[in-house]
């Protein structure tokens, strides 16, 4: 920015013939065409803003070839349940078995399943048709009635009471849905778990919950289609209106909670629009700074107009390209405002200077353009480095930042450096403007110069070392280095092995992500001012996490290793209908022995054992799968005649031979004492019964009913802590590794493997993706939000050092080329690394206090590169000006330093004030992702300014690069 001031006005003339001169003459000659061109495209851009595709879809953020992501997408395509919502209702007095409460839940269930994009068939709640009585009729027959009549409770109080009692009995006898849908609380207000400490539903664990605890809450689990992502705002408005209506009606009796991925994502988009007015505050701050600087409205409005046009053009391009954007992208207009205003101020300041000197707006514009176009281009060039480096990272929003950042920055040449002087020639500022020297600029320059040339010059150095030490402390750099140096001997320690494997040199910095907290803060300053400091999505999520089995899922896609034979075609039989292609080559489902792993009792038993293990895991609250259907049916059909099935929970098992022998009383044939059922035939019979007795598609969420060769186990995860989610993944993968040769388990594979071509649902239809190996040692890929979380962590680990390193290389090379000095480039990159280390330190601190909105998750990492690219500007301006002043002052360091700090230094300070004003909207919404990114950028730029003003001069003085300390050498 300050480079514009380094030019000597006297050395220039209208007849100059540099490229800058020619450019200035050209745009002045064709000013109306240029202005018209810029305005035309701005208006065109404004037209496309409505098409901005702000959709916030985590699935589209990461590379689809990642095995976790591919597994999740495969699971969504084949088994659905990709956009799960939860509504919770906790009764304040008594238990849930009150007629008014049941009626309310019935009504709520009906209302939420009518919301747009609802997959009503997949909804689960106490009103769901899926919820059946698993007991006996008075006559002793097995009974499967709906727990709540389809038409709701009766109006007759007596009948109503009987219906509620029936519901209570039915829920208490439902081993699959009761743990998922009910929340029991003891007198101390603590959750009572329906599973015992082994993760198994036993007669004892159920008895404890039923007898010692009170059912206080119930939930509705809903599923929505992907089309929702195209209509976030309308959908979230409907969801909130509905909830508000219930809260108003039942405020004194019920606490409502709401959560789920669609709710989070849509709320984020809504928050962007709700808090758009904060952008006006930013503009007002910028306007005030400009007014303070120039004391004239033209000089305040035109820069703002120019930067606004860049923002409009960039948003228009976003709309035109239909690039899938996230709420993170609100950072782009803010950055364009902050950076653009800096450039706008430079050209405006130069114009005003020239206007005073020449008293001619035309000449002033010419001088302003030709003097600022080159440094502005160079400065923008360095700004682009950060964006350029991240454009190579295969994360969609990194690319979005890069592409639109590069475009927006580039347009600044037209909308600020070019357009502002042209507009000034048409509406020039009044000639009575005085170029005032601000009363703080010179004292500031003198004071810092005095400090840096006195014996106290060690203070900045000490401060830099203090920053580095504190940063290393929180990042736990020492522990990381020790682990890396521990070698093979140290690998007995699991954490040391992990650090070595992941090259996690800063283990104090958590790179994993807590998605909800990365999306929303738990409280925010503006909310506190307005008396509503708690952020509802987080508050409700926390409450539901305590009440429910889990709030995110781990989807384990189970497929066979062997595969199945293709169905027999018409060519399999001759004209008489006799088989000519045998059962070894094709499969006739009505005639041949059943195929597919879910028809194999041994495999089903192995999966059942795996699921039991899963439920014992401390971070897994519950799980569900097709296995539960089989176990329930086995219990229902084999409990002795006339006895309640739930009294025989021991029969809630897969009927393999060991189980049949151990429970002979339930399976024996009185007419044939030696007989025991065949396990495979029994499982196959259950499969046939289930497919014929459920609604169409009801089993499709769990098993492939065409091939019976693949299915999914859904685990509900109790935590979203990034450390614990990673540990959960590792534990599951280790279990599968340890048991991969066990009977049954040897037949299966879990998740999508590397190099597979799989079908997934894309926006424009079904597409095929090819996976790449993205998991160490080819371990199992897990879908669901747990898988996405792990994939995000993997990406973060790949990029947290790589992306800044790439940026620093380009910055180093660019600096060396620009200044033709390795020393200068070295000094500048040192400053970058100080800033970078401080950002790692900040991340370490956030990790230490478990502030998961601002640890070094992948979305925050983008700030490292961007800040590096932007931050280098200050050093560049300082170095340029120092050289100019050294030449001007006959290599008098003291004077040159003082003049540099007074001029360029003060401009840098104002730029930072503008930047901080620009990030106000980002810092004061409920959104955590924009808050954290702006926090890291702001921290970096403030440190960049301080090091540029107070540390860089010391390094320059100590290293004495020829570029600055040698007279008459051209830059």
């Amino acid at each position: 920015m300050a480079s514009a001031e380094q030019e000597n006005p006297e050395a220039t003339a209208r007849e100059g013939n540099t490229a800058a001169d020619r450019y200035a003459r050209f745009v002045l000659r064709y000013r109306w065409a240029v202005i018209g061109f810029i305005f035309f495209f701005t208006l065109l851009g404004a037209w496309y803003i409505k098409d901005v595709n702000l959709r916030n879809d985590p699935d589209s953020l990461l590379p689809l070839s990642n095995r976790y992501i591919a597994t999740n997408l495969y699971n969504e395509y084949h088994y659905g349940m990709g956009n799960i919502m939860v509504w919770g209702a906790k009764v304040k007095q008594g238990d849930i078995y009150q007629p008014w409460f049941i009626q309310m839940m019935d009504e709520l269930y009906h209302d939420v399943s009518q919301l747009d994009f609802a997959n009503a068939d997949n909804f689960i709640g106490i009103s769901s048709s899926k919820l059946r009585h698993l007991g006996l009729t008075e006559e002793g027959s097995l009974d499967f009635k709906r727990l709540i009549p389809a038409s709701g409770l009766s109006d007759d109080p007596l009948q109503q009471k009987q219906q509620v009692e029936f519901l209570k009995n039915g829920l208490q006898k439902h081993p699959v849905l009761e743990p998922l849908l009910l929340y029991y609380e003891n007198d101390a207000g603590e959750r009572c778990d329906l599973l015992d400490e082994n993760g198994v539903i036993s007669n004892q664990s159920i008895a404890y919950a039923h007898q010692q605890c009170t059912p206080k809450a119930t939930f509705i689990v809903g599923d929505f289609s992907n089309e929702l992502k195209e209509h976030h705002l309308a959908w979230i408005a409907a969801v909130n209106d509905l909830l508000r209506e219930y809260e108003q009606r039942y405020a004194d009796r019920v606490e409502f909670q709401i959560s789920g991925e669609p709710y989070f994502l849509a709320s984020m988009v809504q928050e962007v629009w709700d808090k758009a007015w904060l952008f006006g505050i930013s503009l007002a701050i910028v306007l005030l700074v400009l007014w303070y600087e120039f004391k004239h409205w033209n000089c305040s409005v035109f820069p703002l107009l120019g930067v606004s046009m860049t923002i409009v053009l960039t948003l228009g391009l976003m709309g035109f390209t239909q690039f899938k954007l996230t709420t993170m992208m609100v950072l782009t207009p803010m950055l364009l405002l902050a950076i653009g205003i800096g450039h706008a101020m430079q050209v405006t300041r130069r114009f005003v200077q020239e206007l005073h000197r020449t008293k001619n707006a035309e000449t002033a514009a010419y001088e302003a353009i030709r003097h600022t176009i080159v440094p502005a281009s160079l400065s923008i060039g360095t700004d682009l480095h950060g964006f350029f480096a991240i454009s190579f990272v295969d994360i969609s929003f990194y690319k979005a930042y890069a592409y639109f950042g590069i475009f927006g920055m580039s347009t600044l040449i037209l909308t600020t450096t070019t357009l502002i002087p042209l507009l000034m020639t048409i509406v020039p500022p009044k000639m009575d403007i005085q170029e005032e020297e601000k009363n703080w600029e010179k004292p500031m320059g003198m004071a810092i110069a005095a400090l840096l040339t006195s014996k106290f010059k060690w203070i900045p150095l000490a401060l830099v070392f203090a920053v580095l030490w504190v940063s290393a402390h929180y990042a736990e750099l020492g522990r990381g280095i020790s682990a890396l140096l521990a070698g093979e001997e140290g690998r007995s320690d699991v954490e040391v092995a992990r650090i070595q494997d992941e090259f996690d040199i800063m283990p104090g910095v958590e790179k994993g992500i807590h998605y909800p907290r990365a999306a929303f803060k738990d409280r925010y300053w503006l909310g506190e001012l307005m008396g509503d400091e708690e952020v509802r999505p987080i508050k409700d999520l926390n409450t539901l996490s305590e009440m429910m089995a889990g709030t995110i899922t781990a989807n384990l896609v189970i497929r066979s290793r062997k595969g199945v034979l293709p169905p027999c075609g018409e060519d399999s039989r001759d004209e008489n209908g006799d088989r000519i292609i045998g059962p070894d080559r094709c499969y006739d489902e009505l005639e041949d022995p059943a195929q597919g792993i879910f028809n194999d009792a041994e495999v089903v038993k192995a999966l059942s054992d795996f699921e039991n293990w899963l439920r014992q895991h401390p971070n897994v609250g519950y799980s569900t799968s097709y296995i539960q259907f089989i176990k329930t049916l086995n219990m229902m059909l084999n409990a002795p005649e006339g006895e309640a099935p739930m009294e025989h929970m021991n029969l809630f098992e897969i009927p393999v031979e060991s189980h049949l022998r151990a429970n002979r009383y339930a399976y024996e044939d009185p007419e044939d004492p030696e007989y025991l059922p065949d396990p495979d035939s029994t499982v196959q019979l259950y499969n046939a019964m289930l497919i014929s007795s459920t609604d169409a598609g009801e089993l499709d969420s769990f098993v492939n009913t065409s091939t019976w060769d693949e299915g999914v186990i859904v685990g509900f995860i109790k935590t979203m802590d990034p450390v614990q989610t990673h540990q959960t993944i590792v534990d599951i993968q280790n279990y599968l590794e340890q048991h991969k040769f066990d009977p049954g388990m040897s037949e299966i594979r879990v998740g999508i493997e590397a190099g597979e071509k799989v079908e997934i649902q894309l926006d424009d239809g079904v597409g095929i993706i090819t996976t790449e190996e993205s998991i160490t040692d080819g371990k199992a890929a897990i879908g669901g939000f747990l898988g996405i979380t792990e994939a995000t962590r993997d990406v973060a680990f790949a990029e947290w050092l790589h992306a800044p390193a790439m940026t620093s290389v380009t910055v180093f090379l660019m600096s060396a080329i620009m200044f033709r000095s390795w020393t200068i480039a070295f000094v500048l990159i040192c400053l970058c690394y100080i800033t970078l280390m401080s950002q790692y330190g900040l991340a370490g601190y956030m990790t230490s206090i478990k502030e998961w909105s601002a640890n070094l998750a992948f979305h925050v990492q983008v700030a490292l590169s961007i800040a590096m690219g932007l931050g280098i500007d200050y050093g560049v301006y300082m170095v340029s000006r120092l050289r100019e002043e050294m030449q001007k002052n006959g290599l008098n360091w003291q004077q040159a330093l003082q003049d540099t700090l007074s001029s360029t230094g003060s401009a840098i300070v104002i730029s930072v004030v503008v930047l901080l004003g620009s990030v106000i909207p980002l810092m004061n919404t409920m959104l955590a992702n924009t808050w954290s990114v702006s926090l890291y950028i702001a921290e970096a730029l403030i440190l960049d300014v301080l090091t540029a003003l107070m540390f860089l001069p010391l390094l320059i003085y100590w290293f004495k690069p020829r570029f600055i300390f040698k007279a008459n050498e051209k830059c």
Partner: protein, 320 residues
């Protein structure tokens, strides 16, 4: 989530109830102008087999009755075949015990459930629920089950037990609309290439043989509150009282169409017909299903003792 096998247990029995091959009741052929209620009573009698004595649907060479159902349209993709079940049924509509209204028995003849049998006994006292016994061949066990609810879907299809069996005329308000002529072909399942196999290829195509027949048009509005439909429009043959088409509406939107190809059994009473096929299409999601009963499988008036309808017979048929 877990519904278990109740619906499965009785689906074949339900189909049997649909056929006219049951206990013969005294139901004179109506004369003169009929009210909506009278027409609906006739339809109920025809569709619930009150006009003939007994019968069975048994495998005849390669012909056998079957039910075919397909997933909703958005879940239908290459490789996903329709679910097919083949079966035999036996009905006794004239039991010796006067407390018993009818006895039906059905046996699955293919696939993983082959040999599974169902015995259903309904009582003369309509306030008493019927008793159903299920024979599970691999477990060698018989289990008694309760009756389904009206809204329960039938054997994984898009039909409900209420539509097929349980709904009685008094469950709805009926309104006679102007008579009409049936001019359409009855719909049938349109299979994709990958859905054709040696079973589904036997499914009949659209039936146009009823074109030009005069029909009553009756609007029936449910008395159940918060029901899955508000009303349905039925088109009923004015001679045979065969119900060709029923279209269901919710909030005035068409949600489901059920079409039945009723065919004569060459009896003196023109109302004695049997459903050659039933095709149901859900408009909201495209799901459809079809039941096909080949004429060659239908056998009338067999000479069998009441003891034939017993667990022993189920065990014998279902033994593996």
């Amino acid at each position: 989530m877990v519904r278990t096998g109740r619906q499965f247990f009785i689906f074949i029995v339900t189909l049997f109830l649909l056929s006219p091959l049951q206990a013969q009741r005294i139901l004179p052929y109506p004369q003169g102008e009929l009210t909506a209620e009278q027409i609906v009573e006739q339809v109920y009698a025809v569709t619930h087999g009150h006009l003939v004595r007994n019968s069975a649907s048994k495998k005849n060479k390669k012909d056998i009755a079957m039910v075919v159902s397909r997933a909703p349209e958005d879940r239908r993709r290459p490789g996903r075949r329709p679910v097919v079940n083949t079966f035999e049924t036996y009905g006794n509509s004239n039991p010796v015990n006067s407390d018993i209204d009818a006895m039906q028995m059905a046996i699955i003849r293919s696939g993983k459930a082959k040999g599974t049998g169902v015995l259903y006994i309904s009582y003369a006292d309509k306030s008493k629920s019927g008793m159903m016994t299920l024979w599970l061949p691999s477990l060698r066990k018989a289990r008694r089950m309760n009756e389904p609810a009206h809204e329960d879907t039938w054997v994984g299809t898009n039909l409900t037990y209420g539509e097929l069996v349980l709904r009685r005329p008094e469950h709805e308000h009926h309104e006679l609309m102007p008579d009409a002529v049936f001019n359409d072909c009855l719909l049938a399942m349109q299979l994709n290439d990958w859905e054709v196999n040696r079973y589904t290829k036997k499914l009949p195509g659209p039936q146009c043989g009823h074109q030009g027949k005069e029909v009553y048009v009756v609007k029936s509005t449910t008395k159940f509150k918060e029901w899955w439909y508000d009303y349905h429009i039925s088109e009923i043959d004015k001679t045979t009282f065969a119900l060709y088409r029923t279209v269901y509406y919710k909030n005035d939107e068409k949600i489901k169409t059920v079409e039945v190809d009723w065919q004569s059994l060459e009896q003196e009473d023109p109302r004695v017909v049997y459903p050659r096929y039933i095709y149901a299409l859900t408009h909201t999601n495209g799901m459809d299903s079809m039941i096909y009963v080949p004429r060659s499988t239908v056998v009338l008036n067999q000479s069998l003792p009441d003891s034939f309808w017993s667990e022993r017979t189920l065990r014998k048929y279902g033994k593996r």
